[in-house]
């Protein structure tokens, strides 16, 4: 196929949009922590982006998209991106563009995991952990779903990474939080978000970038991309409003709730964006807002310090999205039928794929975090934590 400049153009900009989501996560999280850890949260996002950018071109891409080894992982054929032609291949865009597009997904997944580390992680150990996690958790999961691995073959649908990116990072954040332990003072005194407008700014960048994330995943500038674009927005809006409403029943409707609902809606529609229409998207988003709000309340009631709710929003939202894809997939939109159109198999395949990824991500992350903790120590000292990571890890102050 010859070069399709329109599709190439769309994928170039989509890649840039998704890139922007990683600092977006940084600001989203940075606003939620206490002032003394603001810089740290944003810096972690940037550092993740830099690390994954290098890891990906060196070997991460190859592990994810190299020729399949046992359904589990890619081989090393593409190490250093050797052997990848830069001329438009059969897809109509240069294959290196696919490398770049997938790279930014790998980066944001790891950035989401920082939620579990918030305000207490040692920078040096974090760097090691991030490299291990992206290599041993993210790369295999990307391979399973999209790189020729078992999940794709088995028929699990994941349009833009609901499982690969969100379930994996959300449950990884939970595992990390369990290993690293609660922040000093958690549950004893309140740790309020210090700069909500920065969180809203991060959310704006996330919502904006998500159009590249989901509509870019059509890998073409066509009607599938358009459908993904529109349903992404609809689900986000529905999630924002549903969280706003249910939280209103219990007290004041916070802007953080509203925006968390939007992110929940964005997460949940991610695996479904190419398979469902606009009305199901509204349902998926609305339910995501309520479910994730419930998950957050449950987490709080259990006094778990998965500090910035990556688990409640990305983990639970991603799980719901995977299941919802199995329910609502419509033949007319993306060529697959879900439960509602009578296809129980799709529902099972999706649930199973999501569950497998969930278990894999959670367990392997647990092991990796434990390992790093036992060898290097994941956590800063009590004094460093008290003073804050900005000063203790970076020597900087807001």
């Amino acid at each position: 196929m010859v070069l399709d400049t329109g599709t190439t153009s769309w994928l170039l900009i989509s890649t840039a949009l998704v890139m922007l989501m990683t600092p977006g996560v940084g600001f989203f999280y940075g606003g939620l922590v206490r002032r003394k850890n603001f810089i740290s949260m944003v810096a972690l996002a940037f550092i993740v982006f830099a690390l994954v950018s290098i890891q990906w071109v060196l070997f991460g891409y190859s592990l994810s998209f190299g020729s399949d080894v046992g359904g589990f992982i890619g081989n090393l054929d593409y190490i250093g991106l050797t052997g990848i032609p830069n001329e438009a291949g059969e897809a109509g865009y240069p294959p290196l563009l696919f490398v770049a597009f997938q790279m930014v997904f790998a980066a944001i997944a790891m950035a989401i995991v920082t939620s579990g580390f918030a305000e207490r992680v040692k920078l040096s150990s974090f760097i090691i952990f991030a490299l291990l996690w992206t290599t041993l958790v993210y790369d295999p999961l990307a391979h399973w779903a999209w790189g020729g691995g078992w999940a794709g073959a088995y028929g699990s649908l994941d349009f833009a990474g609901g499982t690969v990116v969100h379930i994996s990072s959300g449950f990884a954040a939970l595992a990390v939080a369990l290993v690293i332990g609660k922040r000093a003072g958690f549950g004893e005194y309140s740790m309020e978000p210090h700069n909500i407008p920065m969180t809203l700014l991060g959310a704006a960048l996330l919502w904006f970038g998500w159009f590249g994330f989901n509509a870019g995943s059509a890998l073409a500038a066509n009607s599938l991309a358009v459908n993904a674009f529109l349903v992404t927005n609809t689900s986000a809006a529905a999630g924002a409003l549903s969280w706003l409403c249910v939280s209103w029943l219990r007290g004041k409707p916070s802007s953080l709730g509203m925006i968390s609902g939007a992110v929940a809606g964005l997460v949940a529609i991610t695996p479904a964006a190419g398979y469902v229409g606009v009305i199901p998207a509204m349902v998926i988003g609305a339910i995501a807002g309520i479910l994730c709000y419930g998950a957050m309340l449950w987490r709080l009631s259990r006094k778990m310090d998965e500090s910035l709710d990556a688990w409640a929003v990305h983990g639970v939202g991603g799980l719901w999205g995977a299941i919802a894809t199995g329910i609502f997939a419509a033949m007319a939109i993306g060529g697959f039928s879900g439960l509602i159109e009578g296809n129980v198999n799709q529902f099972i395949a999706n649930a199973a794929g999501a569950l497998a990824a969930l278990v894999y991500a959670f367990v392997v992350t647990l092991v990796l975090a434990k390992l790093v903790d036992m060898t290097l120590g994941l956590r800063v000292s009590e004094q460093e934590e008290y003073v804050g990571l900005d000063l203790s890890q970076h020597g900087e102050r807001v």
Partner: protein, 109 residues
């Protein structure tokens, strides 16, 4: 009239407020300050080097009370602000000659 000026850990503020409310003491003015005590702040070790963070964020609470209440206020603040670790703060007692309520003009000497 006395002014109790307490410099405490920010995270103990809620405890102090609660403890005072129990005694019916509501009026107070607080501000964000930075401070260090005799330890010259907190020393962090890293790769052999040492970094001293000498100014740590604190909350300052000013409460003007009658002479007789001052002791109680100090006691309550002390108990509620206490953690036992370095940096718990100080409480100072200053004399106040007059106190006027702007709205009513009411004065206590």
């Amino acid at each position: 009239m006395k002014m109790v000026k307490a410099i405490i850990r920010p995270e103990r503020l809620e405890f102090v407020k609660k403890a005072l409310e129990v005694e019916g003491i509501f009026g107070m003015t607080i501000s964000e300050v930075m401070g260090r005590g005799d330890q010259k702040g907190i020393s962090l070790q890293y790769r052999g080097g040492t970094m001293t963070v000498d100014l740590i964020p604190k909350i300052e609470i000013d409460i003007v009370v009658g002479d007789t209440d001052a002791g109680l206020v100090i006691q309550k603040i002390r108990d509620a602000a206490y953690t036992g670790k370095i940096g718990d703060g100080r409480i100072f007692l200053l004399p106040v000659e007059r106190s006027i309520k702007v709205r009513t003009g009411e004065e206590t000497t």
